[in-house]
């Protein structure tokens, strides 16, 4: 399944990624082509081991595909060296993961200001406070990650993604370990990034309720794109499609 948009924030073309070699080789991504349009919210779903995380890592330039090309904002990641990739991530990409989002040695404020600091810019403390306020953590700025709950840590990561206004925010199971109320808060923040600021969000999830917040759901199985739901109408519909997919493999 292929899709082309002129305003794609992230483009994947025939991306292949194989782990291991010989008999033990696992094709985590088996020729995936996909565009993520600017200002959209995409949920990536699929059974465990279907290659969702691998897709996210390749799309974000964290891992290099064995074959195919990945473009972010029109820039081909293939020829870029580690330093150039780092600069690209710093300026254009934000990350929110299920865990390990924050540098444990730094406070919430310092974590939020980290991309700015790495860019050699002075992190504006008003801006940082505003970002933390936006995620509802105005008074937790001086706390370290060990003093924050899982959901709070994720919201700090979102605040970090807010401050640099990255073109694309990648999230891997950001609500995996959260209760439904906290999950909703996180998802609304991500939705807000897209609606208010026109940023692009790509989120891997297992949860149909979470996926229902997206503009579009793409389904992976065995490293291939197998289905997609545009403008999903509620979690039920998504869950039904997932059930079909899981039954077929």
């Amino acid at each position: 399944m292929t899709e082309h948009t002129n305003t794609a924030a992230v483009e994947l073309r025939a991306v292949r990624k194989t782990y291991g070699s010989g008999a033990r080789a696992v094709a985590a991504l088996d020729g995936v082509s996909l565009d993520f349009a600017t200002g959209t919210f995409t949920a990536v779903m699929g059974p465990s081991g279907s290659g969702k995380s691998t897709l996210l890592h390749c799309a974000a330039g964290l891992d290099r595909p064995d074959d195919g090309t990945v473009r972010i904002g029109g820039v081909d990641l293939g020829p870029l060296d580690e330093t150039a990739l780092a600069l690209l991530r710093r300026e254009r990409i934000g990350f929110v993961f299920q865990a390990f989002n924050l540098v444990s040695a730094l406070t919430a404020e310092q974590n939020v200001g980290l991309p700015r600091q790495l860019a050699g810019k002075r992190a504006d403390s008003d801006e940082i406070r505003a970002a933390l306020t936006a995620v509802g953590l105005a008074n937790r700025g001086t706390h370290r990650p060990s003093q924050l709950s899982g959901g709070e840590q994720q919201r700090v990561a979102i605040a970090r993604a807010l401050i640099t206004r990255p073109a694309a925010v990648f999230a891997d199971e950001p609500t995996g370990a959260l209760d439904s109320k906290t999950s909703r808060g996180v998802l609304e923040l991500l939705r807000g990034i897209v609606d208010r600021d026109g940023q692009t969000v790509i989120m891997v999830t297992h949860d149909p309720v979470a996926a229902a917040h997206a503009d579009r759901v793409v389904l992976l199985a065995d490293g291939r794109l197998v289905d997609r739901i545009d403008n999903p109408q509620g979690a039920q519909a998504i869950a039904a499609r997932m059930a079909v997919l899981e039954a077929s493999c």
Binding site: S53, H57, L62, D63, E82, T83, A86, L87, R89, R90, E91, I93, F95, F97, F100, N101, L102, V103, S104, A105, L106, Q110, L114, P115, Q117, L118, A119, R144, S149, G150, R160, D172, G176, A177
Partner: protein, 813 residues
């Protein structure tokens, strides 16, 4: 700054590096301070003489601290005459030194180091002493140290090389010296070696020095200013030299352990922080920024540790200096002078070591890929990097190469080459740990402990290597000094038969009076000067000693029967070949009295069969070296009836004497070994505790999984203890192999150089057992302590909030 922020949080993992570096800097600062303070000083005796003329220096290559070659009577007299007529020189004063020692309350004062305290009265004007009483006017008058408590007019017995004789105290001075008339001094001292110059008021020192140099030419050295320190007492120079050996060894060993530990703790810290670095890379840090971060932390640690180390070194220098003085490794009156360079140098080295130590680690940190922030399991993906292969291979090759050079006796520096070899092997084994250790770990029956040690092989390497370094150095240091070379020495052959030995007590040697009272076989050491600056250590043997030497020595060429009169000598084979001497050759020999005579070589004996390079008759020595003292007398009849303590002698059985000389040797060796052992054990203890705390704290999540899987607290702690013990076992095993291989090559190297001697070392089993026990206690203790606190912290966290999918924690090891 990011470095400072992360550092503040990460200080626990850096505290080990800080302490290691701080201690290293402290040891360097301390030994640097002590060594630089122990520089030769202008002897107080010459403090008032602006310019001194000294007889020509001789080669000191053998570190025997041989006194300079004296002038003959004619040359000496001529120099005094001509120098005193140089414009600007008010007076030229002969300076003579000889053995003298007062006997007070029936015991000689000053002990065995009171070597050449007798001088001619005139030379007292070269210093500015406060004199009370009068100059010695008669030959039985003496001016001596006021602190002896003898008032002018009292009688005192003075020991000289002839024996005790009565003197009247004519005056006292504030110096540890005995001044007698010129005639007595000349008779007792042998050749003239120093002339002191009094300059006329207003004379230009530089011009005088130049003029005196022109007059003296190559017949002597003209010294002024600080250069006069060349004339320090030889005994003090020797003591200082020994002290320097200890300090150099300490500094060298300390520096090696420090570099090694700093590099390995940094490497370990980086491997534990891969996730953190991955995360930084994830949010946009470039590889360079990560490297700079790691460097920045090292710089901060380096600077802080440098400052702390310098403070500690400066504080401990006087203490160590005092210990060295007490141990007789620094001259009495030694004081620390706080120089800028030893302190700045040590702290600078600290920073450089930190930078070098972190270099490889920072490169590794820079190569961490952002995706590693997201990995849950932490298995060493590639424990052997190319750099590790190359570095380890080179280090092993260097170590083995040095071994071969040592074992075949080719290496010049037999003492240091094996040490360097051991260091290289330690580095090599540590770098190659990930390939060397698994086969050893597999010797353990399959268990959780074995698998966990195998999976995280780099962590295992990190915990093994401090044990390795501890065991190697402990065994080496104590084993090396137990190396004994047994040959048929002159002393040994003397000792065959005699039941009694008379030796010096409270004196540097025995006087002729003791020798004539006791009879027996006696040895009278002296120095023979040959060629332009060469010299031989010689022993004058009494007729009875000669008869024994005759049986004991293995003569290669010629015959000892011809060693008679005052114009013959026998030399050992290295000397014979160096000088191209054969029985029948004659050589010009200058003696301690400055006179030169032709001596005929009558025999050549093998190198190991005597303690001296040359043998002459006792008569020869006595004729030419008035100040020489007898080292020991061997008698085979009971010795009775003399006031031995007052004569500075003691009578012992042969066994007692052997014990006595050994005790003196062992005392020095003991100090050496204790200092080095204390330092390396202390250092390694720190390393072991540090790496085990780091390694265990890192495994909190493993412990959590174990606990969730139903393991009791006890079982978790048990597995930690077993893993620590495994690391100690492997480290000790490798350490024993390296240390014993080193000792064996050293032994073989020494044996190569001394073909007819019996060379052996006694394996230091006691030290080995103690060291392994210490390592075991420290490793298990530190592992348990840190596992225990990890378990506690974990429980606290559990109580605070639930860890959603805790089962996603790392799989076991």
């Amino acid at each position: 700054m990011l470095s400072v922020r992360t550092l503040r949080h990460r200080w626990v993992s850096l505290v080990g590096t800080f302490v290691a570096l701080g201690l290293g800097v402290a040891i360097l600062a301390m030994s640097g301070l002590v060594m630089s303070s122990a520089r030769a000083k202008v002897p107080e005796r010459y403090s008032g003489a602006a310019v001194l003329v000294a007889s020509p220096e001789v080669s000191q290559e053998d570190n025997a601290f041989t006194p300079s070659r004296p002038w003959s009577t004619e040359v000496g007299g001529d120099l005094v005459d001509r120098v005193s007529s140089v414009p600007g020189v008010a007076r030229a004063v002969e300076d003579r030194s000889f053995y003298a020692q007062a006997v007070i309350d029936g015991r000689p004062v000053g002990g065995a180091s009171a070597e050449a305290l007798g001088h001619n009265w005139n030379s007292s004007t070269l210093a500015s002493y406060r004199v009370e009483g009068a100059a010695p006017a008669r030959d039985d008058e003496v001016v001596l140290d006021r602190s002896l408590g003898l008032a002018p007019g009292s009688r005192v017995s003075l020991l000289t090389s002839a024996g005790p004789s009565g003197f009247t105290v004519s005056g006292t001075v504030d110096a540890d010296a005995y001044f007698v008339t010129e005639a007595v001094a000349e008779r007792l001292s042998g050749g003239l070696r120093v002339i002191g110059l009094d300059l006329s008021p207003g004379a230009d020192e530089k011009a005088v020095v130049a003029a005196v140099r022109a007059v003296v030419g190559d017949r002597g050295r003209v010294l002024s200013g600080e250069a006069r320190a060349e004339l320090e007492v030889r005994g003090e120079a020797k003591v200082r030299w020994i002290g320097d050996q200890v300090l150099t060894a300490m500094g060298g060993l300390g520096a090696f352990v420090c570099v090694f530990m700093v590099a390995s703790t940094f490497a370990f810290a980086v491997s534990q922080r891969r996730r953190e670095f991955g995360l930084l890379r994830l949010v946009g840090a470039t590889p360079r920024q990560v490297r700079v971060l790691v460097f920045g932390e090292a710089l901060v640690v380096g600077v802080l540790a440098g400052l702390a180390g310098v403070a500690l070194g400066a504080a401990s220098a006087p203490v160590v200096g005092g210990l060295l003085v007490d141990a007789g490794l620094e001259p009495a009156g030694f004081a620390i002078s706080y120089g800028f360079f030893p302190l700045a140098g040590a702290s600078g080295i600290g920073v450089v070591v930190a930078m070098l130590g972190v270099w490889a680690a920072s490169r590794r940190a820079g190569r961490v890929r952002p995706i590693e922030a997201l990995r849950t399991a932490e298995v060493d993906p590639k424990p052997m990097t190319r750099a590790r292969w190359i570095g380890g291979g080179v280090a092993m090759a260097v170590g083995v190469g040095l071994f071969l050079l040592t074992a075949t006796g080719v290496a010049e520096d037999l003492l240091n080459a094996p040490l360097y070899a051991a260091m290289a092997l330690i580095v090599g084994l540590t770098l190659l740990g990930p390939v060397v250790l698994p086969p050893l770990v597999r010797l353990v029956p399959a268990t959780l402990v074995r698998e966990s040690a195998l999976t995280a092989i780099r962590r295992t390497t990190s915990t093994v290597s401090p044990v390795l370094i501890t065991v190697v150095f402990a065994v080496l240091v104590s084993g090396m000094f137990s190396l004994t070379v047994t040959g048929v020495s002159l002393e040994k052959s003397m000792a065959i038969g005699p039941s009694t030995v008379v030796s010096a007590r409270d004196t540097p040697g025995l006087s002729d009076e003791v020798v004539s009272t006791v009879g027996g076989a006696s040895l009278l050491p002296t120095t023979l000067y040959t060629g332009s600056n060469d010299h031989l250590d010689a022993v004058g043997v009494s007729p009875e000693a000669f008869a024994k030497a005759h049986q004991g020595l293995s003569v290669v060429e010629g015959s000892l029967n011809d060693l008679t009169g005052t114009d013959t000598m026998a030399v050992n084979s290295p000397t014979a070949s160096r000088m191209a001497w054969h029985p029948g050759s004659t050589a010009d020999i200058t003696f301690a009295d400055g006179s030169t005579t032709k001596l005929r070589v009558v025999a050549v004996f093998s190198k190991t069969s005597a303690a001296a390079s040359a043998l002459v008759t006792r008569e020869t020595v006595r004729t030419h070296d008035p100040s020489a003292l007898t080292s020991a007398i061997y008698v085979d009849h009971p010795v009775v009836g003399a006031d031995w303590p007052a004569l500075g002698a003691q009578v012992m059985t042969r066994a007692e004497y052997a014990e006595f000389t050994e005790a003196e040797d062992n005392r020095l060796v003991g100090i050496f070994v204790t200092l080095l052992l204390a330092m390396s054990l202390g250092y390694s203890a720190l390393a072991i505790v540090n790496t085990l705390v780091m390694a265990t704290a890192d495994r909190a999540s493993d412990f959590r999984v174990l606990r969730l899987a139903g393991a009791t607290r006890r079982q978790v702690l048990g597995s930690v203890a077993a893993e620590s013990a495994l690391a100690v076992a492997i480290g000790s095993l490798l350490g024993v192999v390296v240390a014993f291989a080193t000792l064996a090559t050293l032994t073989s190297g020494v044996a190569h150089n001394l073909p007819d001697a019996d060379v052996s070392f006694s394996p230091p089993w006691g030290v080995l057992a103690g060291t392994v026990a210490l390592c075991l206690a420290l490793a298990v203790g530190a592992g348990l302590f840190s596992a225990n606190s990890a378990l506690k912290a974990d429980r606290a966290v559990h109580r605070m909030r639930s860890f959603g999918r805790a089962s996603r924690g790392r799989p076991l090891g």
